[in-house]
Amino acid sequence: MFAYIVRRILYLLPVCVGILLVTFLIKAAIPTDVVSMLYSGQLTESDSAEAAAIIRAKFHLDQPPLVQFYYYVSDVLHGNLGISVRTREPVADEIGYRYLNTMELALASLIIGVLIGISTGIISAYYKDTVFDVTAMTVSLFGLSMPSFFFGILLILLFSVSLRWLPVIGDGSWKGLLLPAFNLGLILSASLARITRSSMLEVLDQDYIRTARAKGLNEKLVVFKHALKNALLPVITIIGLQIGGLLGGAFIIENVFGWHGIGELGVKAIQWRDFTITQGIILISATTYVVLNLVVDILYQVIDPRVKLAK
């Protein structure tokens, strides 16, 4: 097991280097003169040329790209994400609390999505081709076809404007969390329900289920113990991949509900051309995704006794 985890982490190294390379490119590709962006208005004509050279040297901008990349990676490894071009505050400070907000939203959405998605999938599979199944699958296809931001607007229209149950803009309380979490969670449940259903149908068709039934086992026991345990295994992998969908979805949904997460800031940073913030947010989101997927993979190995760890 330990060897597997080590191997899996080593396997991540090139992915992490790739992520750093992409975020590094964000800075390199931005055409605006970095020096004037950082110190606009603070330099007079006379000393600007000299000062610019000093600043360029300070940020290693006078070095070849490879050396710049080295300094960038070393900064990141020391927890230094640079300072925001716009506010001049350290990026880590700007991102910190917002990261927790986004994680809170993602976790709440994940719980909602998993609960609704998996239970709908099980019921649909068990009552295949009934009114419930057909309705649930139609609704889930609607969910997959709905632009998430439009769904969010519809939720606001219904719950905040018409019914006046919830605030239009998130205020940080649980009430403000409710709509964005349901927005992301319900969209997640649409794909989870479909996957759980097909996985469950496959398992219910297996010989060992027929055997269990032939033995005269209680139907509940067959479905929840024998079938569900096996049907959920592929679903776990999908949940790991869908965490990426949640993180990406947060970038869109946070802007609909005014939820103060990294997604809200990230989109603004791209518009503002604040490359240090953009870099930091993309780096931390991609890293979170990679690490969470590692956790899911390891979990999978622990849960599924059939997976024999190769050497």
Partner: protein, 303 residues
């Protein structure tokens, strides 16, 4: 419906040509019998029709600003109402069909051409180049889909063209993996060995012998990426990172959505519902095509 037929009918492929007419018409018949394919097909054909003949149908110029008519609710003159600058929403939505179709085509072409031209030689030759390409794809898949698109947009800058490039680019790794997996199965088949024995070069074998035989999973995947691409492009535009105003792109039309939810909901509802219906149509068509072309795989690939 017809789109499944055309690639196989193409006369340039010797292998497929001998069986294709009957095979293609069989697939076509199967598709036509499915309710989901009928509904999806009608929606898709309508989209193509509006994209081609939009300017003839639209009652107003989609860019024509008439401030005195701003935010008028749906009426006989403006059946979808007007937006905050008095532009006719119905005309803007019809013009938007062009962008939707363009987005689908460009992103798919970039993704498929990029993915296939990386994945096919990589799988065919194997070795260290294969390793390298696949690790590169792993890196791209290390990003969540939307995040990779946002990262590319951050590098290139926000515009419709860059959004399409970013989405197409983000589609490359899955196409490459799909092509690779298919090639690994096919490349040891007898007809490939036979071609090689006849002295065909690797390029000919890869793209004229093998490619036509792995088309069906690729067509299925294309039909599944198109709705995702439309949603991603609309989301980018909605965030102000894709198509820019005053382009009548459906996502762009919803940029100021929140300001009008209460006072003029039609401004938000008409583009939103249009995106929904179009994506639903392609999803229905794609699901039907997957059932017909690739029945064994229907369980796992759905996202």
């Amino acid at each position: 419906m017809t789109s499944a037929r055309t690639p196989l009918k193409s006369p340039s492929t010797k292998v497929a040509a001998s069986q294709s007419p009957s095979q293609a018409s069989r697939i076509g018949r199967h598709l036509l019998r499915k309710r989901s394919a009928q509904i999806g097909g009608v929606i898709f054909l309508l989209l193509v029709f509006l994209a081609l003949f939009g300017p003839i149908i639209t009652p107003y110029d989609p860019f024509d600003i008439k401030i005195e008519q701003r935010l008028s609710p749906p009426s006989v003159q403006h059946i979808f109402g007007t937006d905050e600058q008095g532009r006719d929403l119905f005309s803007r939505i019809i013009y938007g069909a062009r962008y939707a179709l363009l987005i689908m085509i460009i992103t798919t072409v970039i993704g498929a051409v990029g993915g296939l031209s990386l994945g096919i030689p990589s799988a065919y030759f194997g070795g260290s180049a294969d390793m390298l390409v696949m690790r590169l794809m792993d890196v791209m898949l290390g990003f969540p889909y939307i995040l990779l698109i946002l990262a590319i947009v951050a590098i290139l800058g926000p515009s419709l063209e860059n959004a399409m490039v970013a989405i197409g680019f983000a589609n490359i790794p899955t196409f490459a993996r799909l092509a690779r997996a298919s090639i690994l199965v096919v490349k040891e088949q007898d007809y490939v060995t036979a071609e090689r024995a006849l002295g065909a070069g690797p390029t000919r074998i890869m793209f004229r012998t093998i490619l036509p035989n792995i088309l069906s999973p690729i067509i299925v995947y294309v039909s599944l990426t198109m709705p995702t691409a439309v949603l991603a492009a609309a989301s980018l535009s909605f965030l102000g990172l894709g198509a820019q105003p005053p382009l009548p792109e459906w996502g762009t039309m919803m940029v100021n959505a929140r300001d009008f939810i209460v006072t003029a909901p039609w401004v938000v509802l008409s583009p939103g519902l249009t995106i929904f219906v179009v994506v639903l149509g392609i999803n229905l068509l794609g699901n039907a095509m997957r059932d017909v072309l690739d029945p064994r795989d229907s369980a796992t690939r759905m996202s």
